[in-house]
């Protein structure tokens, strides 16, 4: 990996300003959430003018944090190293970015329901998500200041190839966890399990889709004829073949357990994510 040691103060300054702004915005959100939670007790009536104005600034503050996520993601993708921790942080940034959208939804739900229902669950989620954004933004801002961490030239196609499989592996694990969470009935009533499972699966796959798109665009920009070299193609073919095996094992197991009364989406998604795990694990194993 080539390290660009040339001084680039403009880059770091920009990163510091964006990072500090994002941290300030999220700290502001947390403060306003805290004040709002106290003020929005059932039957508390309308908010004061000052509090209304403060809450109006929440969407722009979350948008600013979202823009920093995009900036950070762009920097991370350009400096992929192929290390697991690096790929994991890419996934956390994408995940945090997606959750920023759900913050707006939660705030909207709280606004509509606080007068009639108990919204403490939504507040707890909002605090947890904001703390998560804040942690991601602080780590990201710190990485932007470590010149070598995010100004290093990317490890090239190989780093992207490995990172794609790291993210596919994590997406697979998250997908399997999501399928079982939905089927357990712990998160939503079982009658909504199929829909919830699909939503969780889509969320688990968004980071993978994003990095696949980046991989394709990068190959196009660098005018690479193929996205993989011949050994990587060979490894991918072997991994694809091995990833077919769990289908037979799982179908036989489920048949033995007479579990076919469960929704079809359960089998389809479970098989898909298990195959993704096996596929990426084999590729990473062959590339170790």
């Amino acid at each position: 990996m080539k390290i660009n040691t040339a001084a680039n103060p403009a880059f770091n300054r920009r990163g510091a300003v964006f990072g500090a702004a994002a941290i300030a915005c999220l700290a502001y959100c947390l403060t306003v959430f805290f004040i709002l939670q106290k003020a929005l007790a059932p039957g508390s009536g309308d908010l004061s003018g000052a509090l209304q104005a403060a809450s109006l600034a929440l969407p722009p503050a979350l948008l600013a944090a979202g823009l920093f996520h995009v900036y950070l993601l762009a920097k991370l993708l350009k400096s992929l190293t192929g290390r697991f921790i690096n790929s994991l942080f890419v996934l956390l940034v994408i995940g945090s970015g997606i959750l920023l959208v759900s913050d707006i939804t939660l705030l909207s739900d709280i606004g509509k329901e606080y007068n009639r229902f108990d919204v403490s669950g939504q507040w707890a989620m909002l605090y947890a998500f904001t703390a998560f954004h804040l942690a991601v933004v602080i780590i990201g801002a710190a990485l932007l200041q470590k010149r070598k961490a995010l100004t290093a030239d990317s490890g090239g196609s190989e780093a992207v190839y490995i990172s794609v499989h790291h993210i596919a592996l994590i997406s697979g694990v998250l997908g399997v966890a999501g399928v079982f969470l939905a089927m357990s009935g712990a998160a939503v009533p079982l009658r909504y399990a199929a829909g919830f499972m699909v939503v969780l699966s889509v969320l688990a796959l968004i980071p993978l889709v994003l990095i696949l798109v980046y991989w394709r665009l990068r190959a196009k920009r660098k005018k690479e004829r193929t996205m993989m070299d011949e050994k990587q193609f060979s490894d991918t073919a072997i991994a694809a073949l091995l990833a077919a095996l769990p289908v037979y094992i799982l179908v036989c197991t489920l048949d033995l357990l007479s579990a076919f009364s469960l929704p079809a989406s359960f089998f389809i998604l479970l098989l898909f994510f298990i195959q993704l795990i096996v596929f990426s694990s084999v590729v990473l194993f062959k590339n170790r």
């Binding site: 070299d229 011949e230 050994k231 990587q232």
Partner: protein, 72 residues
């Protein structure tokens, strides 16, 4: 029969060329070069010819078929 290669030796003879430098010259990943050197991956004809081109040697001087016993 096993495919033996002299890539590692030839790299060092060429100003201690790194695996990454060789990989960049022939458009593959460093891991592919590592696997070829270790004998874990048998390159295609095109790749073998590209490697030969970099070292400016005939292919058979870089890759040779050896009986399994001799290799050990």
């Amino acid at each position: 029969m096993k495919l033996h290669n002299n890539i590692r030796r030839l790299r060092f003879e060429q100003d201690e060329m790194s695996q990454q430098e060789l990989a960049d010259k022939i458009g593959v990943s460093r891991m592919t070069i590592y696997s070829i050197e270790k004998g874990n991956y048998v390159p295609s004809t095109v790749l073998a010819l590209k490697i030969a081109q970099v070292f400016q040697r005939p292919v058979e001087e870089i890759f040779t078929l050896l009986p399994e016993k001799e290799d050990n």
